[in-house]
Subunit: 420 residues, 2 copies
């Protein structure tokens, strides 16, 4: 006898039973619908990528310690993608000469990080990526932020449930120049600034002093960020956002985003609830990333929105939809002699776009109906002697308990009108 | 300057540009729609699985040489799933006590095989898996075959474009008993039988003799398979298939399916075209697989249908749909002063369920229209001085060249009626 195999999934990843997958589909279908309403087309790619794709812009350390990276038998280094932006940059770069710009693309890939699983930080999660390529002007940044805003609204959020915090990386770059911070320290200082909301004031001051090498830089930077309220780019952006009806965007010069590739406007969407106050997702402009592939630079703005944080947001704000199966009707034959009639009825209803499951358990009528109810299937029809002889079927709506007796050809219409 | 990064994807996997993803979506949406019409609910899981899931039923050799398997930093052996059946068996086994049977589940996972890329055999492909659990009777086998048939029809195939070849593993087992083939040789003999269609008659006879250890077994098996035409299970199956309107199923005692876990009816769907004659996909009954997890056995029947072979089938039979983008309308502002008006119009149309892209290139009207045409977007509206002042817009249908001038609130209705 073989050893018993565990039924657990691999550590830090999820199984999606039909009730879980229902929610994933709600997320993905809402994301697709809203992106497509803004003219974004779906693309996709394999999660297996050559590791060199990430070495270009990240440190060796990140590739080796925070990603799934292994060597295949052809001696190629392969990484399970930790984010989608390098992939979409690679794909756009490969066809830079033939793609019609502006190009609007979206995808909902799964991405992988090798880290200790904790709330909201699994080893695998899904992330909507929406990007616009080939528009250097602020109209692209505005559109991306308006799209992020529209997604939140379509998920059922009200404007006071979230806040969009906007900054321009150029403000930071200008400040670094003004205080004469050495170029070699800027990347590390930017990363510390990105963590500001998560640190105590004291820890922040001390990390910033360590990163900038001198407490005087650190003071000048903090002073500068509190002094500079905005710039002309941001003002133009906010005037466009008004046209889109976005009423909950604010300037926040402490927003920097972790990645090094951002070159202009950056933004983060925050949950404003007291029990879940935190950054939900964000994005920004990255005009130089495509140069890594040897082509011209292509203007690019985009963002990523993760499924795990969005599920938490929906739960926090009571916006998670109740499970409903794809199946609308269960047919319950009461004996094998009625299988033929049941299959004929099922096939006729399928032609009328009704989703139909047949219960082959041969349990008593009451038990079969209870089973449909447990599966949350809204309608049920039992098929026995009487139905088979008369050609009339009693369809029961389980939630209301109402019953109607109809001929086969009237069942589909009855269901559609009951579903309202 | 950093080294230039290649724009190629990893070896043996595909990039899906919007035109490619359109076809994937056509495949996936057709699969979902047909499965749901039969009462199947979608589930999903991570592609990362503990390697032990595959060692239970496959040889060490297959796990080591034909899968992507690596050791993570927690010293766990992880495999990128090479098929979905062990995963769904694991998930059902984990909730065997609470799931309502019959359970009908489907998923369209990507699966991985580490082999030399060749036509129809990539390292990553997607595969519809549809399974019914908890029905020991032939009505489940019938439904699964009827579902496979319906999928082919919904993809546009005619009954003479494909053929469903059915067998019962019990016929083979009975024959092995009859000719007294030692139990230790049966697995290998079954695998040789599975390859029969791909081998010359001579190579087949010689491989079979080698696997069965004696040319007399080999002769008795070939003779038996040509003599036995059917059994009572198969006859009941065919009578049910008639009720479903399936007219292109035949008995073929040479069908065995490669996997060892099948226990009853097995089937394969073949392309009947002369230029692409081959097995497209198949499945069967596997009643004992769930016992590997230490629970009760659960009756199970299912099949897998791959995207790569289905794409080839559609191409061969001229059934591949032409690309159409999700975007229905491109708005072309002729100068930045019209951006505000353009955004307002776009937002109003999005509220009426029109998918709208804004062309921010600021090229001449003719060039912007040519760009919409290149992207295959069906409708275009240019916005300049006249439109901005009059509030009337000329919408052009690019395929017919017809133009209509309308106020904003009439555009959506015009588009829906034109799309017919």
């Amino acid at each position: 006898m073989a050893k018993k195999i565990s039924t657990d999934p691999y550590k830090g990843v999820r199984d999606f039973y039909p009730e879980d997958q229902f929610l994933q589909r709600f997320l993905f279908e809402t994301m697709s619908r809203v992106c497509e309403s803004f003219g974004y087309e779906e693309y996709s790619a394999s999660l297996l990528e050559p590791s060199e794709l990430y070495r270009g812009k990240s440190s060796e350390e990140i590739v080796n310690e925070q990603t799934y990276t292994f060597t295949d038998r052809g001696d190629r280094e392969v990484t399970l993608r930790p984010e989608m932006t390098p992939t979409v940059a690679r794909m756009i770069a490969a066809r830079e000469r033939t793609i019609a710009f502006p190009a609007r693309w979206y995808s909902i890939p799964n991405i992988f990080r090798y880290e200790r699983p904790q709330r909201g930080r699994l080893r695998e999660h899904w992330q909507l990526n929406a990007d616009i390529f080939g528009v250097p002007g602020i109209e692209a940044d505005t559109e991306i932020i308006a799209l992020a805003h529209r997604l939140m609204i379509e998920f059922g959020a009200k404007e006071n449930d979230f806040e969009i915090r906007v900054n321009d990386r150029n403000i930071l770059e200008a400040l670094y120049g003004e205080v004469k911070l050495p170029a070699s320290m800027r990347q590390q200082v930017t990363r510390v600034l990105d963590k500001r909301a998560k640190l105590s004031e004291r820890a922040f001051a001390s990390e910033l002093a360590a990163a900038s090498g001198d407490v005087s830089f650190s003071k000048a930077i903090i002073e500068g960020l509190s002094r500079i309220a905005s710039n002309s780019q941001i003002e133009e952006l906010f005037s466009h956002l008004k046209t889109y009806g976005v009423g909950n965007a604010v300037v926040d010069t402490s927003i920097t985003r972790g990645f090094d590739y951002y070159t202009g406007i950056v933004f983060e969407v925050f949950d404003t609830s007291t029990e879940n106050a935190r950054s939900l997702f964000g994005g920004g402009r990255y005009d130089n990333l495509l140069q890594n592939f040897g082509g011209d630079s292509v203007a690019a703005v985009g963002f990523g929105m993760g499924d795990v944080t969005m599920r938490d947001f929906l739960d926090t704000h009571d916006l998670t939809p109740a499970y409903a199966p794809a199946t609308e009707l269960m047919l319950c034959p009461l004996s094998p002699e009625f299988f033929k009639r049941t299959i004929e009825l099922a096939q006729a209803l399928r032609s009328s776009d009704v989703t139909v499951a047949i219960n082959y358990s041969l349990r008593r009528a009451g038990e079969q109906i209870a089973q449909a109810d447990k599966m949350k299937i809204p309608f049920v029809i039992c098929i026995g002697e009487k139905e088979s002889e008369s050609g009339k079927y009693t369809i029961k709506h389980l939630e209301s308990g109402s019953e109607t007796t109809l001929s086969a050809e009237r069942i589909a219409d009855h269901m559609f009108s009951s579903a309202g």
